[in-house]
């Protein structure tokens, strides 16, 4: 039996763990698939899983250049929330959050989704207006949201500096109690295992080098392990979407930037929620292993190197100390970077393309991890049905032509 359970753990312990099966196979690529998903991150694996589960597609491959979950899936700060401003974005992320809430059980793989709440802090009167607006919108969209006053914040988040005389005083916060964090690697592995059980071929160390087209229609991909024919190709390669699009002669309105993060050494529990601040740029939570997981700002230059500049880390440490002065004596264990593909309106693209049978899911910017289940779910629908689901209809490539942008930068941040 392949199902994971406490009982299974005990039984396998008795046989010295020698009988655990592979979580997923490592098959040789077939010559042809009905659907090829390019990119074995969380989004790609989720797409394959939902294609098999929800749409009954039988013959699917996920092609991964390196190892699954090795891109942004394994590099983010694991925050999950759905409190987006605009209805289009909020409903997509809320779909995702609902899937998160049952994901461990659905996949039979504990992704450690921990709904410990997400606070977004306000540091100026304009921040307060923006939060009021977002909370009001969230509630109308059926998304849990509340405004928390500074006095209450002091009680809820010990260690957070909520004093009037700090440089950017905390004037309040939005709270989404259903938000939280998850174990990022487990998401990739859980989807991989569940997809594999439904017959999906997960092929690692297989880099796509070309997208084959004939008469305006996709017919397959060239890879470092040979050509693979496919009726449909879904590309979901965060950080390299423009590169893949170029292979199909498509230009995307995307800029790629390094985004950094770092963790502290493991500490005893000291922070039991997620705190984000756009004004004092930093966000922080504590992992189950005890590390403070901290997000840094985006590096302003474009590039594909998964590393950034140290001054960005310095600024983030300053921000964290501004919020939590006691963390000054805590030490950074490790820092890293990933590449984020950003769209002009800070919203993703889940869309058909001018090439028939070729689909792109990209442009998640800094917010892709939380969307993993919803993104895969909507992308699977788009590929299977050859049309967008209503949840992702607004995220079509067409919007950059029509001008129907969904500005999720938050309010522009200027006043007076």
């Amino acid at each position: 039996m392949k199902k994971y359970s406490a009982f299974g753990l005990l039984r396998n312990a008795l046989s010295y763990n020698e009988k655990w099966p592979e979580a997923w196979r490592s098959p040789e690529p077939k010559r042809k698939y009905d659907v090829v998903i390019v990119g074995g991150g969380g989004h790609g694996l989720a797409t394959a899983y939902y294609l098999a589960k929800e749409h009954g597609v039988q013959n699917i491959a996920v092609l991964e250049k390196g190892w699954i979950g090795g891109g942004n899936t394994g590099r983010n700060t694991t925050i999950v929330r759905s409190n987006y401003l605009w209805t289009e974005a909020a409903l997509l992320y809320e779909k995702s959050l609902k899937l998160w809430e049952d994901l461990s059980q659905d996949l039979n793989y504990n992704v450690m989704f921990s709904q410990r709440g997400v606070y977004n802090l306000a540091h100026s009167l304009q921040d307060v207006r923006d939060i009021e607006r977002r909370v009001s919108a969230n509630r109308l969209n059926g998304i849990d949201a509340e405004f928390v006053a500074p006095e209450q914040l002091k009680k809820n988040i010990p260690g957070l500096r909520v004093t009037a005389n700090s440089r950017y005083p905390v004037l309040g916060a939005s709270l989404q109690r259903r938000g939280g964090v998850a174990r990022h690697d487990a998401v990739a592995w859980g989807y991989a295992r569940a997809a594999d059980q439904r017959g999906v071929d997960i092929i690692q160390q297989c880099e796509v080098t070309g997208i084959r087209r004939e008469g305006g229609k996709v017919i397959g991909v060239d890879t470092t392990r040979g050509a693979i024919a496919a009726d449909k190709v879904g590309v979901v390669v965060a950080g390299h979407a423009s590169v893949l699009a170029d292979m199909a002669g498509i230009r995307l309105p995307i800029e790629s930037h390094p985004l950094q993060a770092f963790v502290s050494e493991p500490l005893k529990p000291v922070l039991d929620t997620v705190v984000m601040s756009n004004g004092v740029h930093g966000y922080i939570s504590q992992s189950d292993k005890g590390e403070l997981v901290i997000g840094a700002g985006i590096d302003s230059y474009n590039g594909y190197g998964q590393r950034g500049s140290f001054h960005t880390i310095e600024h983030t440490m300053q921000a964290i100390i501004e919020l939590f002065p006691a963390f000054s004596r805590v030490r950074m264990l490790r820092q890293w970077g990933g590449i984020v593909d950003t769209c002009p309106d800070a919203c993703p693209i889940i869309s058909k393309t001018p090439v028939s049978g070729l689909y792109f899911n990209c442009g998640w910017g800094t917010g892709g991890f939380k969307a993993t289940p919803g993104s895969g779910w909507a992308f699977a629908h788009t590929i299977a049905e050859d049309r967008s689901h209503e949840l992702n209809a607004a995220f079509d490539l067409q919007r950059f032509t029509s001008g129907a942008l969904i500005d999720e930068h938050g309010a522009a941040g200027v006043a007076h």
Partner: protein, 1001 residues
């Protein structure tokens, strides 16, 4: 408790006794000790408990690779979590405690976990705790409480940190023999050298080894070399300084621990200083880490790295055991065994896994000291829980797939192990360099580099002292030469030559049962990752080294795999049946050893976290007791309360003064840009939507700029000061962005335009004089130009002299009243302000802040970009069509024709009044047509601004409403975030003086 301190030797100062506390016990050590050496001297065997199984753990190493001795040092707000005892210098009255084990490290109730060791296999938590779903929070709370090592302090950091920038020709990282040789060689050419080492003194391995250089004891050479470097003006020597990060452009970050060895920073000393070093060339001489051997129960206290024992004996004069066994697969550890023996320890045996044993030098040395050697043998297991008691030794054929049947016990309380050495390639790898597998020495060595750096010494796989010195010197000269310095012939060194036998790799030690069934063979001690865990990961399909790391936590600890990763890679390679080179390494990332956030942040925290910008009149505002609003970096007076007034009363009074008499405001924070050049008009025509070229000199105009998407970006009044000169104002928050925007177009798209842009925000202070009496006031203080309408109409600018000061006088209004804006050089602004205040007393001149500014403009329906707009608003939505020139092209013009922007049901800017005539709705509140529709309830807009209006006598609001321009007179519902609803009447956004007559008088 016995003392394990030697009577003589070492570099500790026996004259200086330090008392310290460990887990409540008072112990003694010497100056020069580390906490680890002091604990060993006091015969403390158990210093921690392991992560998962809570097994007792002792000190294993003497450096940055220590996985077990993770301590909480110091008390209260000055406490430091997770310090490695091996790198913590002892000071008097140090308070240290172990970070694991309850109630104590010696008796830990969670040790029961070990009974379920096989259940808690790699990744077990992914397979359980899933049902019932609601219990996950309980499971998680339990997992969290058992994880983590030390605790963060609760209060503010009492210490300070500093940043320092440094430039040099040659940066040398590591002051062991190769680093010293490199630094000396480079310094002799005149190159500017920075030499950093993480330890309290230079010397590296020379401090632990007993050898000679140029026929004199190495210590003499060391003293001479360090003296030469210290006396050289172009050399900066930094001890206690760890180069932890190697970034692009040869930028190396290093942290200097200035005070941790003193307990508390004396006087004005900073605790840590971050060095940001820009080096033209970098020599990496970081040394190497000795590898453990993965036999059963290899984590028991008393099992130590051979080189660590040598360090404790030679450097700290501590004998970590009485009777030792050495288990090795290479020659280097023989010298550690001899050192232990020479210091008075008993060495029961050297167990060498190699059939042919060690080379002549090592063997002769051992035999001379009477140490028995057993070649072709293994230590397969050890006995003893809180301290090693016996080693189980067996003969071995050299076949790793074999299981071992017969073992003999050798009694010992110290097991020294050495699995060979791994060069510390960390910085080389961080710099983007590749690593290649050295088939002879069985280790990864630095390969091709991407930046200006080279590796030498043990860190480059150069193992003999002679080679380290020679290659170090070569590197010093080569790098100096690369920087343009003239280089003399190289120095040669003489050192004892060893005859060695090659290492034979032993990633996993065969045991009495299969590696999956035998007792735990630990790879990563801190994370309790064992050989069986890595094999399990492979069995389950986690085959990439990165998957194995993430699934088993191998290398996740605070030592970042310095100790055990290589064995893990070896075990992985065996399981995958591929060469270890193909397995590769995980990515090396900063920090080499952990760095405090405080050091990273430096001085820029607290009140100087971000520069505070204050206007020239700031002190005056403060004197009046005005609360400040934070606007970007600026502090602006929010309102000026008089005695007993709240914000509402104050704002009402200020508004009425502006409407009825005279008010004054400090508008200095407006962004100001001076535009000059032959093509000024050409540039501004492309940026702004109105016909800039048609403006006569001396005219002002309200202008807006759009993004490429046709949406409003910023607005402001601009003035034409000359044929080729303009003065632009921007929003306070948008000043930098607008200047950047202009420069971006100018520099990257239209470099042919001859235009110069200068920010003059800080040079001009701006005083808005507002109200029906404003003209009278200016006349009263004395103005050399006529202020009458005929001479000085609305929306014009003049150079003038006001009260004896030269000023630029603008007749503009953001309140709808007769108003003037006085631009004056900031050095005179305060004098001008006081002059106007004094002269205005007869008109009851009233200063006002940002809140009144907002109310006044809202009464007139003027938008505030960033409050009433949010990056999704077009000028048409704002009914600003009159600003869109048809005569020219400008940024965003084409986008305005796009399908979505010509929709008539876009959200449009309108005014609102509450139907009840009294509720001031919260700004940001969403608007709905029907609040009773089920979720997701369709929203039709939101409130952007909302105020009580004193002059109108009822609240007013502004906002964006779907098809709003066509819905004047209708009602919508504001759904506030607290769940209450307010009916709102849709009205024109211009509430006051709709014909705008008042500003024109």
């Amino acid at each position: 408790m016995t003392s394990r301190r030697l009577e003589s030797g070492g570099f500790v100062d026996r004259g200086k006794v330090f008392e310290f506390k460990f887990d409540g016990r008072t112990l003694k050590g010497f100056a020069g000790d580390t906490l680890a050496s002091a604990l060993l001297a006091n015969d403390v065997a158990v210093v921690s408990r392991s992560f998962k199984y809570h097994r007792p753990r002792g000190i294993v190493s003497a450096g940055a690779d220590e996985p077990n001795a993770i301590m909480q040092i110091g008390k209260d707000d000055a406490t430091l979590p997770n310090l490695r005892a091996t790198q913590t210098e002892l000071y008097n009255n140090m308070v240290a405690r172990s970070t694991k084990g309850w109630p104590s490290v010696n008796f830990d109730v969670s040790a029961i976990n070990a009974l379920f060791g096989r259940v808690f296999s790699a990744g077990f938590y992914y397979k359980t705790f899933m049902r019932p779903k609601r219990l996950w929070r309980c499971y998680e709370r339990f997992i969290r409480s058992s994880a983590g090592w030390g605790s963060a302090p609760a209060g503010n950091d009492p210490d300070e940190y500093a940043h320092r920038n440094a430039h040099c020709d040659v940066l040398v990282v590591g002051a062991g023999p190769s680093g010293l040789a490199a630094a000396v060689a480079a310094s002799r050419t005149g190159a500017r050298v920075i030499l950093v080492d993480e330890q309290n003194e230079f010397g590296g391995s020379l401090l632990s080894e007993d050898t000679t250089i140029d026929s004199v004891p190495a210590m003499q050479w060391l003293e001479k070399t360090v003296a030469e470097l210290s006396n050289c003006e172009t050399v900066q020597c930094l001890t206690r300084t760890t180069a932890f990060g190697y970034y692009d452009d040869n930028f190396v970050a290093a942290v200097e621990r200035c005070a941790d060895h003193l307990g508390k920073p004396p006087g004005q000393t900073v605790r840590e200083r971050l060095w940001r070093i820009c080096a033209r060339e970098v020599v990496l001489a970081q040394g190497a880490f000795e590898r453990p051997l993965a036999f059963c129960n290899n984590d028991r206290p008393g099992v130590m790295m051979a080189s660590a024992v040598q360090t404790y004996v030679n450097r700290y004069a501590v004998l970590p055991g009485e009777r030792a066994v050495l288990f090795t697969n290479n020659d280097s550890a023989y010298f550690a065994a001899v050192a232990f023996k020479k210091a008075g320890g008993l060495l029961a045996a050297i167990i060498d896994s190699r059939q042919s044993g060690a080379g002549v030098t090592a063997v002769t040395n051992a035999v001379d000291h009477g140490i028995p050697i057993m070649n072709g043998h293994l230590v397969t297991d050890v006995v003893g829980k809180k301290r090693v008691r016996k080693a189980q030794v067996a003969q071995w054929s050299g076949d790793t797939s074999q299981t071992i049947k017969n073992t003999v016990s050798i009694e010992c309380d110290l097991l020294m192990m050495s699995g060979g050495w791994s060069p510390a390639v960390h910085l080389h790898s961080q710099a983007g360099g590749k690593n290649i597998w050295d088939e002879t020495h069985h280790c990864f060595v630095p390969g091709e580099t991407l930046q200006q750096n080279r590796s030498v010494g043990a860190g480059a796989g150069q193992w003999s002292l002679m080679e380290c010195l020679q290659r170090g010197g070569d590197a010093g000269r080569t790098t100096a030469e690369a920087c343009g310095f003239v280089v003399q012939a190289g120095q040669t060194y003489e050192t004892p030559q060893d005859q060695e036998n090659p290492i034979e790799p032993l990633w996993r030690v065969p045991a009495s049962r299969s590696p999956d069934r035998c007792a735990k063979q630990f790879l990563d001690f801190q994370n309790d990752t064992s050989v069986a865990d890595v094999r399990l990961a492979v069995r389950e399909g986690y085959r990439s080294i990165e998957h194995v790391k993430r699934y088993t936590a191998l290398g996740f600890g605070t030592d970042q795999g310095k100790l055990g990763n290589i064995n893990g890679m070896g075990v992985l390679a065996e399981a995958l049946e591929v060469p270890i080179a193909q397995v590769g390494t995980t990515t090396f990332r900063p920090a080499y050893t952990p760095v405090t956030f405080g050091a990273g942040a430096g001085e820029d925290i607290g009140e100087i976290y971000d520069p505070v910008r204050k206007t020239a009149m700031h002190e005056w505002h403060e004197m009046q007791g005005a609360p400040m609003e934070v606007v970007g970096q600026w502090l602006r007076p929010w309102y000026f309360p008089q005695y007993g007034e709240d914000i509402h009363a104050a704002v009402a009074r200020e508004c009425m003064a502006a409407r009825n008499s005279l008010a004054i405001m400090d508008a200095s924070t407006l962004g100001k840009i001076d535009v000059q050049g032959r093509d000024s008009v050409a540039l501004l025509e492309r940026i702004y939507t109105h016909d800039v070229g048609r403006m006569a000199v001396g005219r002002c105009a309200y202008g807006i700029m759009l993004g490429e998407d046709g949406l409003l970006m910023d607005d402001g009044v601009m003035a034409r000061l000359g044929e080729q000169r303009f003065y632009l104002t921007t929003t306070t928050g948008g000043a930098a962005a607008v200047l950047t925007w202009l420069e971006r177009w100018l520099q990257t798209e239209w470099p042919e335009l001859d235009v110069h842009l200068t920010s003059t925000t800080d040079h001009w202070s701006t005083i808005a004089v507002v109200g029906p009496k404003s003209r009278e006031l200016l006349q009263k203080v004395g103005c050399n130009v006529s202020l009458q309408r005929e001479n000085f109409p609305f929306m014009t600018v003049k150079d003038a002299e006001l009260g004896g000061f030269p000023v630029q006088l603008f007749r503009v209004s953001f309140s709808g009243e007769l108003a003037f804006e006085v631009n004056i050089g900031s050095n005179y602004a305060m004098a001008m302000w006081e002059l106007l205040i004094d002269a205005g007393q007869e008109f009851q001149i009233t200063p006002y802040g940002t809140e009144t500014l907002h109310v006044l403009r809202a009464e007139k329906g003027f938008v505030i970009v960033g409050q009433d707009t949010d990056g999704s608003v077009s000028p048409v939505d704002l009914k600003m069509n009159w600003l869109l020139s048809k005569n020219k092209d400008y940024l965003g013009k084409r986008s305005l024709q796009r399908a979505d922007l010509v929709r008539t049901d876009r959200k449009q800017f309108v005014g609102f009044v509450p139907v009840d005539g009294k509720t001031v709705v919260a700004e940001g509140t969403q608007l709905v047509n029907d609040p009773l529709l089920p979720v997701p309830t369709p929203m039709c807009g939101h409130i952007t601004s909302s105020y009580a209006s004193a002059c109108l006598g009822h609240p007013i609001a502004l906002g964006l409403l779907q098809s709003g321009h066509a819905r004047i007179g209708e009602q919508v519902v504001a759904a506030q975030s607290d769940g209450t609803y307010v009916d709102m009447q849709v009205v024109s956004p211009v509430f006051y003086d709709p014909k705008s007559e008042r500003q024109n008088v």
